[in-house]
Every structure is written in C-alpha cells, then in structure tokens.
Symmetry: C2
Subunit: 249 residues, 2 copies
Amino acid sequence: MAEPVRIIGSFLSPYVRKVLVCLDAKGLAYEIDPIIPFFGDERFSQLSPIRRIPVFTDDRVTLCDSSVICQYLEDRYPEPALYPADIAARARARWLEEFADTRMGEVFIWGLFNQVAINPFVFGQPTDQAAVDRILAVDVPHVLDYLEGEVPAAGFLCGELSIADIAVAAFFRNAAFARFRVDAQRWPRTAAFVDRVLGLDAFRRLAPIEDRMIRTPPAQQRRVLAEMGVALTADSFATDTPRRGLMKI
Amino acid sequence: MAEPVRIIGSFLSPYVRKVLVCLDAKGLAYEIDPIIPFFGDERFSQLSPIRRIPVFTDDRVTLCDSSVICQYLEDRYPEPALYPADIAARARARWLEEFADTRMGEVFIWGLFNQVAINPFVFGQPTDQAAVDRILAVDVPHVLDYLEGEVPAAGFLCGELSIADIAVAAFFRNAAFARFRVDAQRWPRTAAFVDRVLGLDAFRRLAPIEDRMIRTPPAQQRRVLAEMGVALTADSFATDTPRRGLMKI
C-alpha cells in the first residue's frame, strides 16, 4: 500500500463524493483539504488549471478530474472492480458516468444547487427563482426520463456496482440539499435506484458529514470536520475571498 | 474484424476528428453520416440524448461521447496502443484529453469557432467581435500558457503518440478555420507540437476533406463528400432545420 492519498475538495461536491466513494469501496485511506473551489488560492490554480475539484495526489500523480482519478484508482487498485469487465458494458458505464458528470452537473449543480446554495451563501446573490422553476419544469424531467429508461428495476446499472451507479447517485445528494426529491410516482425505477445506491455503506458513511457541512459556513468547515474526527491534511489551499472559476464545473 | 463502424458527425468537429484519427491509427474502416449536430433529427436525439457528436455504432455498442468511444476502441483494438502502458502516464494522457475536450472546447469551439463560423453560417447571427477579442486576449493565452508548460520540445506529450496528442491537436484545426494560428515567438513549443501532430498521416488524410467542408453549405456537404469518394452511410439522421442543442458541447 502506498502512502495515504490526499484529496482537495468539499464534501458537498458530487465530483468529490464520487471519488470518496470509490476510495471507500477500494479500502483506501485518505486525508482531505475540504475547500470549496471558489476559495482556492494561487497554489490551487497551479495544481488544477481550470480550478476544478477534487484534486487527487498520491506518491505518483496529481490529478484534477474526477473521471480520470476514478479510472486511475481502478488501474492501480483493481479490486474490487468498479468498471465492468465486458468491453461493451464498460463503455456504457463510462457513458453513464459522463452523462451524470456533464448533463446532471449542468442541471442539478449549476442549475439547481448553485441557485439555492452557492449563490446566496457563497456569493451573497439572491436565488433566481424563475431560473429554478424552469430547470424543475424542463431540464430535470428530461434527465429523469432518460435515467428511467436506463436504470434496472433491481440491482445496478451495469450488473455489479460500478462507476455509473456511483456517479449518477452522487448528484441526487446535491439535489436533496436543494430540497428536490425524485417523484416516485412519475419515475419509480429511478427513485428506487437512487435510494438503493445512496443506501450503500460508502455513501452512508459520508452522509452525516455532508449534512453537517451544508449547515456550516465555509470558514468554519475545517474546524468542524476536525471535531468530527475527519482526517484532514496539515496544509490547506484555501483563501478567505471567494472567486469564480474559469469554467463552470 | 467486425463489420465497419458507423460515425454520425461532421468532419468539422474536433470531437469527431479525434475519433476518426483514432480509427485511422488503428486501421479501422468506417462509414460516416456527416451531420452538423444542430441538424440532427428526432432519431438522433434518441441515439445521443444530449445531441452530441460523434455517435459511434458497431455490432456491439452505440456510444455518444468521444472520450468513451476512443477508450472503447482501445479496449477492443489494443494495437497500436493510443494510451500509455504506465498507469501514471495513462492518467496524465486522460487528463490532457479532458483538458482539451472541456477547456479548449470552451475557448476554441464555443468562444471562437462558434462566433466566426457557426453563428453566421448556421444560425444567421452576426459575430460578436467584442467576445472574440476578449477570448483572444484572455482565454486563448491562458490555454496556450498551460500547454507550453506541458508539451515536450520534441516527440509527444506522453512518450509515444497518445490520445492526449490527438485530442489537443484536433482543436487547432478548428482554431485555423477561425483564422487563428499559434504565435511561435510566444509559444514556440506549442506551435512546433501542433505542426508535428497535425503533420501525421491520419490528420493529413482528413485535412483536404475538412478544407472542403468549411466552404460547403450544410445542405450540400453529403453530395460533395460522395463526389470526393468518402464512404457515407446509406441512412442519414439530418433534417433541414437547425436547432440548438441541450448543452453546449
């Protein structure tokens, strides 16, 4: 086993959550610098040129894209496998991960979570309720209609638990933070799937930390996490003044 | 060898170009339905739920993300390898591909190419010259500064030719269509790298087709390609009326 890995990134990010669940599933310990990316300093920009989180560091790499990190973890620590062995199923798992990271990111993070959490609490800007209403009426149903056709009635998206399940389910935690729940009448398979995946131990272990962080101002998060017994990095890449990133995600 | 693969997507897309270069490098024949995604019909939306190109189909899969397609090609047809064998180098190659597809896509396609080619010629909207100037003054230099620190003085980004070189270089074809060339005084390594990679046979074979397509109205592209001897699909997913996609890329 190599030295513990280091993660830079907030417990409230679905991209960080995806990586932390993969680390947990593979039995890998980590230390975390729990910053919100808007609060990253200049050294953070050097590590992550488009100011994305999570940033992952171990004895061999520094990586700043969650999909690249998860694939690296799979390559280096193949067991238990989180990518299907069959080539076609593996491609489908990667596509569903990409759909989640891109389209669900756009809808649930930049559409919904950004409006109801980041804008008011990080940047002091009011929620644009008309924008939220449009997302809930048009974009969210489009995503859920697609997922409803993909998720199985039981089990996981590609047979065994895979990166696809982890990536998709991660976004529904942020949807819940934005007070959105899947309508089980309209999308029964998706609603059951989300409950099933978020009920896995690796997600359940993160949930109380996330629930606490959503109620904790950024400047106090590190202290509160230390009190909760979370393994933190000695160094932090945070500054006091938030700034918007170069790109959305 | 399986049946020939089918590609849906324009020769002018850097994401299509990346896949076509990988197919060429691996010696795989393909047929193409050369549509611009804005002109995709309802069946296209079914295949590609966020209306991205390229869409790739063979006897086993239908895939609609260029990175997923290229990784599938590597898994199914491992030789010649386009992903480094070393795990850390492979992760870096995937990161550079992601940087190209996301950040260079935002800057060169949605910033530059969209303004000077797609807006006027597809949607009949004038170029926003102030936006173009801002991209050329701020965003393009930021991308090139980053690349200048990554590309080697000779050879390729990760040793042998890899998906990283192909993904990065593909965007500079679209930059050229938008009349942008890398300033070799300011970014000498990047300028030489771009020339080196675009000089590879797989890129050179596509260049005359691309040069012709950039001067050909969408409705005539299929006929002109047939005259040029390009292998076209019998079926087409094109309509006559362009519409914007669900998301940018």
